[in-house]
Amino acid sequence: MRRFTLRDSIAATVLAALALAAMPWLMSDFALALTLTCLMYAGLAVSWAMFCGATNYLSLATAAFFGMGAYVTAWGIGTLAYGLGVLLGGLAAAAFAALVGAAVLHLRGAYFAVITFGLGELVRHAITYYEKAYAGTVGRVISEPPETVTIYHVVLLVSALAVVTALVVRASRLGLALRGIGSDEERARTLGVETRRAKILAFSLSAFFPGALGAAMAVRWTYIDPLSVFNPFIGFQTVLIAMVGGAHTILGPIASSVLFSVLTEYLRLQFPYLFLVILGLLLILLVLYLPGGLASLLERWRWGKSRA
């Protein structure tokens, strides 16, 4: 079997995105909303894995980036075009990540996880304070949101862009440097990688997408306040999806975001009171019996075939 080249993978992504772009005219509203959730989580999980999967960092900052993006939209709506808000939301998150990354990326493991989690709380409280003290409000009403079809297409575009970026990064020198950092950072440095710069660059790049997705999704809620958009659940969910899928791959997180979104929706409808319990149990089983994620199933299957 011929190996997939970067061009093949990008072409496949573009084709899939084009096919998905037609969905608003083919699907029911319910199915479309579900697809939108899938796309959002795919974008979040793929961009999380772009940095964290390669470097073995555990970042819980997704909620912070997402919330920042959402607030760019909340503040800009009415004066800022929707697409421009999405771009600005992404850029704001990327800039923030670069700044914070420069300060905390020397930490590893649990320290980094705790710091990035605290970051979300910090931004949330800062915005709450600002809104109360200067804007005299707790939350904001999103008036005149764009059409669902527009939102869907923008989210699709951002998520497809996240996948293409992840593919390009993986094939690039930056990707090689990140894998070296994940394996043995000091060794990578003795082979000429300026690890600090590589990490800040990649962390900032990977933050653009949750920022943009936050800005894009904010208009789905009619009323947003810091508690709802800086929801730590979004951060945890992203990490779980990426890990269950296989954080060192790109296809794994995509597959697992579909699985998660559909499963969550199904369980919520079938077992409204038990669904979180069931979801939790499934997760535990997956982590216990498939520590390499869904992607490792595929790898095992390929391995089996190549040996036969």
Binding site: R179, R187, A188, L191
Partner: protein, 255 residues
Amino acid sequence: MREPLLAAQGVSVRFGGLVAVDAVDLAVHAGELVGVIGPNGAGKTTFFHALSGVLVPTSGCIVIVGDDLTGEGAHAFARHGIARTFQTPRVFKEMPAIDNVRFGLEFAGRTRSHAHDAFDEPGTILEFLGLADVAAVPAGGLTPSKQRLLEIGMALGARPRVLLLDEVAAGLTHAEVELTAQLIRRVRDELGLAVIWIEHAVRVLMDYVERVAVLHQGRKIADGDPRAVAKDAGVIEAYLGEQGEPVTEPGRKAA
């Protein structure tokens, strides 16, 4: 006289009250193969950490081809042509062997070319080391002795001017040590590198290097022709002080 490729001037490393390396001077030129020996805890590896930028010396400076790099990060040393191996092999375990070698070519050695373009290809480097058949195997799956060879390959990938080898012969059989030593001489000859080679098992080293420096309690107590150094009273005492590990200890340490 030619400018040395690497010059350590009065390098000291202190950890709190402990002086691990004490005002050591060492200059190496292109084409030189220099051994560094010393009893356990003499400060050999700490000295290497300072030479490769992994550790910033407390005082003294390190000059590489005329540039003072003291205080710079390890990546700057690597880009200036200092490549090293580690005592316990530190290969990128998840990556295929060939990507381990490619790594240095993509980063440290990107702006230089080798004296021999054959060494600009990761495949040729693996072949040279006799690792061509495991190119696609994740490095973590190789035997320890192959990981040691791969470490040399990673360093060669960085297109070095100075190669620092930290106990590459440890844990190898006598035949493997012999082979490794010949390999090191060949890269030195073919690529015109300066090689500094630390070894605890002194005998092997003495047979292969033209110059040897002895560290004892962080200080350099001898530096010169191996035969002369072996007879040096201070050196003999340093080794005998460490419960009978004489300079003439046979090279075969472990199988």
